[in-house]
């Protein structure tokens, strides 16, 4: 029989896992956009985070407009409309990036498209700031967040309807993408193109179309991810793509960049690591545990028993600790191979 305290610990752990898997599935979907593009043309499309941001901004604009117009539409229909507008907009952005910025540089040295990607990311951020202003856009209060208990304990861990929706939508998108890539002619053509563009051309594959489609699909997934993460935090802002993009990129590297299953695994793992890290970093670095070592600490602990070195605001650090650790100990990622000779 678990004691009350053990039960509480378990509940906290479960809660962190649920939160981690929710964010992790968003990271996974965004990471797919990075990994697909890398897989096919060995380019790290650093502007992908901004595509995700644009998805959130467009969807939120539509959602807010619909709510403001008092259309009487049910909340789900409003959100879906936002998503359905955001997807083609992001696809168009993804297509344009490839067509206008990356394609002319396809045979240029590696550094050129990489710097272009970083530049595009800044340009898109500034464009978004001009269009939507610096102010964060709130997600209107149209969805009642309902928590469901996952254990018998009535004040224990919960999963909300929004979290369930995010996880289910992500799983569906990942499944759909795997089906596309491994079961359809287009998917085989994408993998063929990623292996050898010349030979793919000899098969009659128009590699430019295939590469465009890869960007478009990744951007479409990114649009949905943007709406999901915006809805989860209740806010969308022109800078949101930066950190989210870097985290998703870290997730892609963690899983092995270029590898679809790796991006999914990396995203989920990163979400969980981040949630657990944020959840426990305060406890682990609680200085009062070592109060007996130093009088100064003991005095301060007397007034503040939660004196910690690192609080949960250090959450964002974990993604980068993971990235650094992967780059040092397993540069090819968990499921990746041969990144060394590709990069």
């Amino acid at each position: 029989m678990p004691t009350g305290q053990q039960e509480e610990c378990l509940d906290i752990f479960l809660q962190q896992m649920i939160n981690g898997l929710t964010l992790g599935s968003v990271y996974a979907v965004v990471a797919l956009g990075y990994t697909m593009v890398y897989g096919i043309i060995q380019l790290i499309n650093f502007a992908h985070g901004e595509v995700v941001m644009i998805g959130a901004m467009v969807a939120f604009s539509v959602i807010n407009a619909l709510v403001g117009a008092h259309t009487g539409l049910p909340p789900l229909a409003i959100v879906m409309t936002g998503v359905l507008v955001a997807i083609p907009v992001c696809m168009a952005v993804g297509y344009t990036l490839e067509r206008v910025a990356y394609r002319p540089l396809r045979s240029a040295p590696r550094l050129a498209p990489l710097i272009t990607a970083i530049g595009l990311s800044i340009v898109l951020q500034n464009l978004a700031m001009i269009i939507w202003s610096r102010n964060p856009m709130p997600f209107p209060q149209i969805i009642t967040v309902t928590p469901y208990h996952v254990t018998g304990n009535t004040d224990g861990a919960t999963i909300t309807n929004v979290q369930i929706a995010i996880i289910v939508a992500s799983v569906l998108m990942m499944g759909g993408l795997l089906g596309l890539v491994y079961r359809t002619k287009l998917g085989i053509a994408m993998r063929a193109t990623s292996q050898n563009q010349q030979i793919a051309g000899l098969m009659g594959i128009d590699i430019n179309t295939v590469i465009s489609l890869t960007f478009v699909i990744g951007a479409g997934l990114g649009a949905v991810a943007g709406v999901m993460v915006g809805t989860y935090y209740g806010i969308a802002q022109y800078q949101m793509g930066f950190l989210l993009g870097l985290k998703a990129f870290s997730a892609a590297v963690l899983g092995g960049i270029g590898n679809l299953a790796g991006a999914m695994l990396g995203g989920l793992l990163l979400g969980v690591i981040e949630a657990l890290g944020a959840g426990y970093v305060g406890d682990l670095t609680n200085l009062c545990q070592i109060a007996s070592w130093s009088d100064a600490i003991a005095t301060r602990c007397a007034s503040d028993p939660n004196l910690t070195l690192f609080g949960s605001n250090y959450q964002d650090v974990f993604a980068f600790l993971v990235l650094i650790a992967v780059l040092i100990f397993r540069p090819s990622g968990l499921l990746g191979e041969r990144v060394g000779d590709r990069a």
Binding site: K185, I188, A189, R191, A192, Q195, N196, Q198, I199, A200, G201, L202, M203, G204, I205, D206, I207
Partner: protein
């Protein structure tokens, strides 16, 4: 216009016709203005030493390397500089040097890519069965990735894959390269079978003797230029060819 080397004129029955074709890699002129034609239904070989410019000629035809000067006509139309993916759609397929199978794709997926330009699912399935009949070893390994196949098996896959596009003209770049004698035999038998089925073939080979034996006509290439051309049997007995490409058999 009469061709000074082959003596034959660019006839209406030519499926492929190169005139004054020049292909260069930057400053390196690898193909220096060659004339070559392959008539409908013919099996023509292009032989020559390493570095003669045979592969470069094929790359020029397929749009894999820009043509510097000259024209390529296929089926009566000027296709100079057209990208490879368009040519396949018009029945011009190539098996590149070194086979070029997709190592990470399964054999079935490689074959599916061969039929990429086709939409007739049922007919594709039948044709894949025919390929499997021609190369039973591919059938046994159909779900294996192509990278795990032996060199000979990869060559069969590459040829099977090219055939699945239902080509009218097939360009083969050294299909026997690096294969054991038995496998070389198998490859040449396949080339003849395909030819007899009505596919026009331009065959590039190092193995000059075998190539000339199966071909109708032949061209000899040296340092980017065609030095000899004519009936394959004639070339086979030409003292210059025997000395240069058939080694001791000249004696």
């Amino acid at each position: 216009m009469s061709d000074p080397v082959t003596g034959s004129s660019g006839s209406a029955s030519a499926l492929l016709e190169l005139s004054k074709l020049e292909v260069a890699y930057g400053g390196i002129q690898a193909v220096k203005g060659i004339d070559l034609h392959v008539d409908k239904g013919e099996l023509v070989c292009l032989i020559g030493a390493n570095g003669a410019g045979k592969t470069t000629t094929l790359k020029g035809i397929c749009g894999l390397q820009p043509v510097k000067r000259g024209t390529i006509r296929y089926d009566g139309k000027d296709i100079t500089g057209r990208p490879a993916f368009e040519l396949v759609r018009n029945g011009l397929a190539m098996v590149p040097e070194g086979r070029g199978v997709f190592g990470a794709l399964t054999i079935e997926e490689n074959l599916a890519m061969g039929a990429y330009v086709r939409d007739d699912r049922a007919a594709i399935a039948t044709d894949i069965e025919r390929i499997f009949h021609l190369f039973p070893r591919l059938k046994e390994r159909r779900r294996q990735t192509a990278g795990t196949l032996s060199g000979g098996e990869q060559q069969m896959l590459a040829m099977g894959r090219a055939l699945l596009s239902k080509p009218r003209l097939l360009l083969l770049d050294e299909p026997s390269m690096g294969l054991a004698p038995l496998m070389v035999q198998k490859v040449f038998e396949t080339v003849m079978t395909v030819s007899q089925e009505g596919v026009t073939i331009l065959l590039i080979e190092q193995n000059a003797k075998l190539a000339l034996e199966v071909s109708n006509r032949g061209y000899v290439m040296e340092s980017g230029a065609i030095t000899l051309a004519g009936d394959a049997k004639t070339l086979l007995h030409d003292p210059a060819v025997r000395a240069a490409y058939l080694g001791e058999s000249a004696a």
